[in-house]
């Protein structure tokens, strides 16, 4: 049972908290000790959101130490760059291809960085970077809210639990209306992740 430290980051109102609740729950159901904590405060008003999720034999601190993040799961590109320094050198950055431009970038003098610049920042901490076509997957299953399920699907490919360990919990927790599309998004993203991992290994 290895320790799994996931930092889930994004923008208020885009489902990061729901996804991190799910991530924690799945860990608990599958026998891990689990802690998770969010910066909630004023996040609902469009601020940055960050959730720390930890699985382990015994977890003390709910917050992950800088440099010990094994998975940076970013639901938005700029937020991936903002939290890059938390990554462990062996860590993996999984970034949804979505962009939410903050007001300060519209009216201020600091523009929203291009993906190449964001990738550059991330690669100073780790060379394992994956861009997830989360919006495309959500579009394919016709459920715009399934972005967070796609993100969970993508990370699941890196962890040892079988897909059913995830989907069983999702079946228990998700409302019937979104069940089918959510699980579909999860499985599609997991398949994409496996292909991406193989492609990366092939390159080496």
């Amino acid at each position: 049972m290895r320790d799994v430290n996931v930092l889930m980051v994004g923008v208020g109102g885009y489902g990061v908290i729901l996804a991190s609740d799910g991530m924690a729950e799945i860990g608990m159901v599958n026998g891990y000790d689990v802690k998770k904590t969010d910066s909630l405060g004023m996040a609902q008003r469009g601020g940055s959101v960050v959730s720390h999720v930890r699985w382990g034999q015994k977890v003390f601190s709910p917050m992950i130490k800088k440099g010990e993040v094994v998975f940076l799961l970013a639901f938005e590109q700029l937020e991936a760059a903002r939290w890059a320094s938390y990554l462990n050198p062996k860590g993996i950055a999984i970034v949804a291809d979505s962009v939410v431009v903050p007001v300060s970038a519209v009216t201020g003098d600091t523009p929203y960085p291009k993906w190449d610049a964001i990738k550059g920042i991330l690669s100073q901490y780790s060379d394992k970077i994956y861009l997830v076509p989360a919006a495309r997957i959500a579009g394919e299953v016709k459920n715009p809210r399934a972005v967070n399920m796609a993100m969970l699907g993508f990370i699941s490919a890196f962890l040892e639990l079988p897909a059913e360990a995830w989907t069983d919990t999702m079946r228990r927790r998700l409302p019937a209306k979104f069940m089918k599309s959510s699980i579909e998004a999860f499985l599609k993203a997991a398949a994409e992740a496996r292909a991406a991992i193989q492609a990366k290994e092939h390159k080496r």
Binding site: S39, M42, G46, S61, K66, V103
Partner: protein, 598 residues
Amino acid sequence: MKQLLSGNEAIALGAYHAGMAVATAYPGTPSTEILENIARMEGVYAEWSINEKVALEVGMGASYAGVRTLVSMKHVGLNVAADPFFAASTTGVVGGLVIVSCDDPGEHSSQGEQDNRHFAKFAKVPMIEPTDSQEAYDLMELAFDISEKFDTPVLYRSTTRISHCKSVVNVTKERKAATAKASFKRSPEKFVMVPSYARIRRVAMEERIARLQEYVEQFPFNEMILADKKLGVISNGVAYQYAREVFKDASHLKLTTLYPLPVNLIKRFAKEVERIIVVEELDPYIEEEVRRLGIAVEGKKFIPIIGELNPEIVEGGAVKAGILKAATSAPAVPATPAPRLPARRPQLCAGCPHVATEYTLRKLGVRTVGSGVELSKNDIIITSDIGCYTLGVYPPLAVLDTCACMGASIGQALGLEKAGVANKVVAVIGDSTFMHSGITPLIDVVYNQGTTTVIILDNNTTAMTGHQGHPGTGISARGEKTQAVDIESLVKGIGIKDVNVVNAFDLKAIETTIKKCVANNAPSVIIVRGACPLATKKKGTPLEVDADVCSGCLDCLKIGCPAMTIAENLACIDAEACNGCGVCSQICPNDAISEKQP
């Protein structure tokens, strides 16, 4: 059964299983979810009180009737409730009375940072504090037991990182039947605090603390973990978790009874270890008490007194103290410094009913920009209050001059006026904040013949904390319909003659009304009415910019709407994000913004 619960959920469930019959609260981050959870439980009377003082007074009444009662609030809420808090300490209780204070180290969502452990000692009230959700659940029953056994309210402290952290809870109990049926037994020497009776209670308070001092020595959740005896770490709350994470091999003393402290246990621990360090958030509360026992102790020399702790900060302290050599997991240092990234501050939402008023106040009242600059005579001073609208202090609105504590805007406005400033003063306050503590200062304005204009931003909810009801909404904590207090009649009843109600999205009406009221040499109230779109979940038809008409002046961006961006030097609206409120279209000098054609 194992459940993944936040600290607040565990507090609520623990109280429920301990037989709580009454729960009161005023919403405030990070405490809000406690009452939200209780309000969904059967067999408990739960209310959003008008403010924390009233919440605790309702709690005292319920306790006097013999039932177990929980009162919850954020740290600064206990400042508001300080008067009844001390009074409850004096009278003692009948049914268990537990007051939950959720402190916010780091000020994630607060106007100030304070360490409410001092309140316990100050008011001579026992205090307990959990280190995770399991303890949050387990300690609650003991808190009620202590309250009843020692005839005292109990202060139950949590912090943001306990309240808002989810961890595994083994739920072992079921709901105890609510304690004895409510009944009140006359006992004036206990309940009527005239000086002669209060003096008797004063003695009882000291005797109670002496008995508690013995009790906490045996408290099962204070825990000594002996390992490497070169270092002993004393900690409480979430700091205990960081201490265990960072000082892996050391001996630990975990404290959950923070007042009184188990002094004999601390002395025993001190004898076992060579060097003692205290890891605690905020003030050196434990450290100073330990030092008073004549024990050599370090703490704030290495651990910051300001802000929230985390594992890196505690590790940094350990390195400074010479305990650890260097950070065990120093993050990679990037070869080139990271470029500046645009900030993502919290902001007023698309379709927010506060935007038009703050935009207008900026336009009419802010002639002089910059800190510390003399105002011109046409500037209007804008005192503000606690709520979403406080976000108007940030650019591009950048409109507010003060924000201190709940309800302060109105008294401050009167003070500025009576001190004799040459400028007109406008106070801005939300509907929930007005109910909480804006009514009494408005009476003060009338009584003392102030001329200030008070703008009540009425979005029909307590928005910032996640849309709780308040007396103006007519919806109870359980979501049931109740009598709504009519703000208009209320302010008229106080004696305000110039009372105005305007639509929150009608720029022209807002501007004319503010101009009229500011010119009036009598006190006036403007109720700006418009529902919070996050609460109603209603979405209007999105607007769009006609690129052929837009001149690129970008005036519309001055409202700071998150749905607006710039594309090829012209204004551009994100139809997904736009709520269709229409404020930007009223600003546009070229009529370039209109409803999106399907």
